[in-house]
Symmetry: C2
Subunit: 161 residues, 2 copies
């Protein structure tokens, strides 16, 4: 049975999202886009915008599972903290609908697609186009969200063998 | 006119909450408690539990404003990241109901109550009991949530003069 996967690349300025269907080795592109919380809004209202956006996607496409990156505290701990809050707003929208949430390390997402843990955005875009020719991501956030959904689909397939 | 304030002390293990009414210099204790996300649940489901808990409090008590601490990246950046996600789950529950969110630095909250920026939990508890004798917080999280609500009430009063 096909699984419908929602991939999210969270951010307080741009939250990329993608819906793909996966069944065995086949992948089918359904939709993707970017949620854009207004820049001049408070942090609270921007988080609410991400929550509402992901809620609408869940209502419209009824995904079976959410795939999202794990955030590590990197050299800029403040940026990680902001990103963590955007990520939580997206996760909550799925979790309250009882959509299971799967978390992947950034390098594992890249490795699942490009065989390299440190692929750049251009390489990720190329692999997204190779797996899903119908996808036409217009921004890196959208491309990354598709990659996150694909990485989960590939990981599920590996587990199924 | 009295303002009903919701104070939240977020945490992935214990999220303290408090409702107080404030009018000019008068403060009235309404209710308080602790949301306890199940320890054996996934992070996503614990965030969903915080969101649902704060949503229920908003539905039941109809607060006018939310008061919550600002998180800074401290010596343990990983803890700050986890706390940031718990905080976002609480903020989103209020923000989607168009409840304005006010954020305060931890030291300013303590200073607003105890005149000392580095008051310990026992001093905070004593000041909570002095301002609101009817309050009977059973845990530090509950006491801190009342303090956060009181700090916002006191800050509003200062702004009103």
């Amino acid at each position: 049975m096909a699984k419908r996967i929602l991939g999210i690349d969270p951010g307080l300025l741009h939250t990329g999202w993608a819906i793909i269907d996966a069944q065995g080795p086949s992948r089918h592109y359904v939709a993707s886009g970017v949620i854009l919380p207004p820049k001049n809004e408070t942090m609270a209202n921007r988080l609410a915008c991400i929550f509402r956006g992901v809620s609408e996607i869940c209502e419209k496409f009824s995904p079976d599972e959410l795939s999202i990156e794990i955030i590590f505290v990197n050299t800029n701990a403040k940026t990680s903290l902001v990103l963590g809050q955007a990520r939580a707003a997206a996760i909550v929208a799925a979790a309250i609908r009882e959509i299971p949430v799967f978390e992947y390390e950034p390098n594992k997402i890249k490795k699942a697609l490009t065989c390299a843990g440190h692929a750049d955005k251009d390489q990720v875009y190329k692999m997204v186009k190779m797996f899903l020719p119908l996808a036409n991501p217009k921004t890196p956030d959208e491309s990354d969200a598709i990659a996150i959904a694909l990485a989960h689909a590939n990981s599920m397939q590996i587990r199924a063998f």
